[in-house]
Subunit: 185 residues, 3 copies
């Protein structure tokens, strides 16, 4: 479907890194590998899924791990790099020491996406809310209108971002817009 | 009405280029000419209309060609430069070879704005939907709430942007927010 | 409550300056002082209140003076620096001459926040609408959905921003989204 070149992918992540004051990984072979992974995912799913994660092909379930993923900003703030180590901060870029970055994606989102009992959680027999892989393709998620109490930025998502892309307020400063409206989405 | 200096215009386009990882045209005489054009349009219409296009003076009809115009991002991605060649990518900036960039603005939007039969389209006699230049001043357009399915970014426009300004998702990833609300705008 | 290091504060304002094409104050002692002030306010109030202003501790009333404050962009455009002189433009950065920047925050917002008759305004006896400092903690403000007529950007705030963070349109290009909805917030 969508055709995109490695160069376009590279330019996009470069520009995105600059916007946030980040750097791309100093390891050129990793950068090349990630660019190819993003290109492949873009062509396969229609969106640049994180090359270090597993897609379901259902945009609603994969949304949080599309690059730049929801977890990049808090990960760079805390560890100096995102989960993939594609985006790093200045210190990591200059030292070239890539840190270990644990998976921040909540276990419930992993479980919902892949329909598998997760090893870290004790199995609780049948979990009615976890869709099987077959069902995952058509599952939707409930979206709401959130706003940043600091700058007013509005998003329509299941849950608010970790960091406001406009004013960099943290997630706790987001609240739901409280209005009498029925959303059908 | 609004007073703005050439320096302010220049600083604004410079900052905007940086944000997106773009460069300004390497030809200093063009840059000077565009800055003057943007200043003139800002003072004449109240908004910095693209210096390479024709205004109607009706913001609703001119909206897509206010600088940075709706077409800049897909044009820089595809051709390395916007229609004006004010914004260019790194390759074009370094090579100094400005590419030809065809007009991406849809024929229907040109027609709606200028109320003229467009040469490329065969004339179909009277077109009831095309306003005459006199009518154009007061015509409004139907706006809707759209959201980016990738990052949740919300816009209130006639149609979604070509590229999400927050996460750079492409237009196909925008959808209308489906809710029971009557918009009066 | 929230723990944040001086380094994180510094990196955040640096990235934010870059995004908008601004520079941080060239005076290193000021930069250090502001970073400490922002860290202190973040820990005390849960948000990085401008280190040059007085907090009420009520987010709704303090919102416009959280860094980067509402007034930064028009101040840098007009004077070359924000009220604090933390963010400056290129000319100021290079000349190292920090300009005087008058307080742009409207007198009504100062009055509402601090519940004090303001010296510049003639006293009009009892002002029923001005909350006392005790009341200020619980006062809310009426928020509305605004959109940028240039790019469609949507915010949920008491009043629109001075400059659109997406397309840099000025405040006059924002309008309320006119729809039949009751907001409870």
């Amino acid at each position: 479907m969508t055709s995109i070149t490695i160069d376009q992918v590279r330019r996009q992540v470069e520009a995105d890194a600059k916007t946030y004051g980040y750097y791309l990984t100093p390891q050129q072979d990793l950068l090349q590998m990630f660019s190819e992974g993003l290109k492949t995912n873009e062509e396969r799913y229609g969106y640049p899924l994180c090359p270090c994660r597993l897609a379901t092909g259902n945009l609603d379930l994969d949304r949080d791990i599309i690059c730049p993923c929801d977890y990049r900003d808090p990960d760079v703030a805390q560890y100096g790099a995102c989960y993939c180590r594609l985006f790093v901060n200045k210190d990591v870029y200059e030292s070239q020491n890539l840190p270990e970055v644990p998976e921040r994606r909540p276990i419930e989102k992993q479980q919902r996406a892949y329909g598998l009992p997760i090893a870290q959680q004790p199995s609780q027999g049948e979990n009615e809310k976890t869709p099987t892989p077959q069902q995952a393709k058509t599952v939707g998620v409930k979206k709401r209108l959130w706003y940043c109490k600091q700058c007013g930025y509005v998003v329509y998502r299941e849950d608010p971002p970790y960091i406001c892309p406009i004013c960099k307020a943290k997630r706790e400063l987001f609240a739901e817009i409280d209005m009498k409206v029925e959303f059908n989405g």
